[in-house]
């Protein structure tokens, strides 16, 4: 749980201390297709086989629980 707390602390610090208002015209890099905050479409079937070969699911942009005879 220490790792989780540390990550949350880093996230909160980054969100509160380092955020700046980024204008739309400054988002050429943020809007790059490789910067999308989701799993890539080409990863679709990889997140699928993790569901069968590993116990956890969810919070990764793929399927969570249900919808398949998987874990």
């Amino acid at each position: 749980m220490n790792i989780t707390r540390s990550l949350l602390a880093v996230l909160v610090c980054l969100s509160l201390a380092s955020c700046m208002t980024v204008k739309e015209y400054q988002k050429s890099r943020i809007n790059d297709s490789e910067m999308e905050l989701s799993a890539r479409k080409a990863e679709k079937f990889e997140t699928g086989f993790y569901l069968y070969r590993e116990g956890p699911s969810g919070a990764n942009g793929g399927k969570s629980s249900g919808g398949c005879g998987c874990n």
Binding site: E24, Q26, R29, E34, K41, F49, G67
Partner: protein
């Protein structure tokens, strides 16, 4: 497959045809036709080899080959209130052969490996209102395999900040699934069917319901960095064990897998993407997972797309996953016959896995291979290893048509 392609083509033709018959604007607003935003075709080949199949109690072949194909289409339209309506249609079909599934009934004479088709389409309708910065969506999904059927419903609401740098989202989904309880041949009660098409003896059907809630927050931190945190608890109830998994006990007896009727899962994921310099992007992901069956897991993923030219990039990636076993796991022959729950399924055992590979993406301005409609092409290969000795290879081809 022909029927499926024809259905999709007719659906597409119908939607586009309907869009073209929209009446001309008479009330002062501009009529905007239904527009195709994106079409993607994804094909994947996956093959695995291993010797810890749960069908044979934690020993025996895990050989499996899967061919998967996916087609997704995104359509959009702006209404008279300037709201953007997006319709996403996703259809997937997998064909697989599994040597372990063939061992459900090892006495029958069958092909070298059991095969099946998994069909799972979904449709999502989303409405985004730029005035309120609120998006709402509704979705339905269906899934069907030989022994499994699912109906899924999803609703989502998200709100973007005024400066468009932050988004908060809430998503709820429910899946109502049904297992066809196919049992190992030697463990079937008298008059219990095999589940085969030509077997007139009946089998049981058992429900499995899943309820998920996802809360997410995304934040643009600066011109190069953005973050996403997702908390996605889920509750499952019903038949959570796999009916044809065998378990062997210390006294030499054999039964089918038995697991509790509820499972509460709590994953939390963090994504951070950073644009380094002008050519390198660092995509990172970490997930912590815990559930009430006693499993804890950590998953980390790092992918570094490098733009060799504005139209060509390579994306090496590495993923590491480790998990503790659920409390009811024991290897072959290690179960206490006095305990209520038992499994020898290494998928929920104490394992660590690694997945390493690379992708190559081309998006030339004149279209891939000179075909203008082919907006982008991506080829992705990965090698997967598990601490139990299981190995797998995955090859994916994506063609984006816009």
């Amino acid at each position: 497959m022909k029927k499926f392609t024809l259905t999709v083509a007719l659906l597409l033709a119908g939607l586009v045809g309907r869009a073209q018959t929209q009446p001309a604007a008479e009330t002062g607003y501009e009529a905007r036709q239904l527009k195709i935003e994106e079409i993607n075709f994804v094909s994947n080949y996956y093959h695995q080899e291993g010797n810890n199949s749960a069908v044979t109690g934690g020993i025996g072949t895990e050989k499996l080959t899967n061919y998967a194909n996916s087609f997704d289409l995104v359509l959009s339209k702006i209404d008279r209130f300037n709201r953007v309506h997006t319709l996403s249609i996703d259809a997937n079909i997998d064909y697989y052969t599994s040597a372990s599934s063939d061992n459900i009934d090892p006495l029958t004479i069958s092909s070298a490996s059991k095969s099946d088709i998994h069909f799972y389409p979904s449709v999502t309708w989303r409405v985004a209102d730029p005035r309120t910065r609120i998006s709402r969506s509704l979705g339905y999904s269906y899934s069907r395999e030989y022994d499994y059927q699912s109906h899924g419903f999803t609703a989502q609401v998200s709100k973007t900040s005024a400066d468009n740098n932050r988004e908060v989202s809430v998503r709820g989904s429910a899946f109502f699934d049904t297992w066809k309880a196919i049992l190992p041949s030697e463990l079937r009660p008298a008059n219990y069917g095999s589940g085969a098409h030509n077997d007139r003896a009946g089998v049981d059907y058992k429900p499995r319901n899943s309820f998920n809630m996802a809360l997410s927050l995304s934040q643009v931190v600066n011109k190069r960095l953005q973050l996403l945190v997702v908390l996605e608890p889920s509750l499952q109830q019903g038949l959570l064990s796999t009916p044809f998994h065998r378990v062997y006990f210390t006294d030499g007896s054999e039964r089918i897998e038995r697991l509790p009727g509820t499972r509460l899962k709590l994953p939390i994921g963090l994504r951070a993407n950073y644009f380094y310099g002008d050519r390198v992007i660092i995509r990172s992901f970490y997930r912590f997972y815990v559930d009430d069956w006693g499993m804890q897991a950590h998953t980390a993923n790092l992918e570094v797309p490098v733009k060799l030219t504005p139209f060509l990039s390579i994306s090496p990636f590495y993923r590491f996953h480790t998990q503790t076993a659920v409390s009811f796991f024991r290897p072959y022959g290690g179960h206490d016959p006095n305990l209520l729950y038992h499994t020898s399924d290494y998928d929920i055992g104490n394992i660590s896995t690694q997945f390493i590979g690379t992708g190559i993406r081309m998006a030339p301005p004149g279209g891939v291979l000179g075909i203008r409609a082919w907006n982008a092409l991506e080829l992705r290969y990965g090698h997967y290893t598990r601490s139990t000795g299981m190995v797998a290879n995955s090859l994916t081809l994506l063609v984006k048509v816009k």
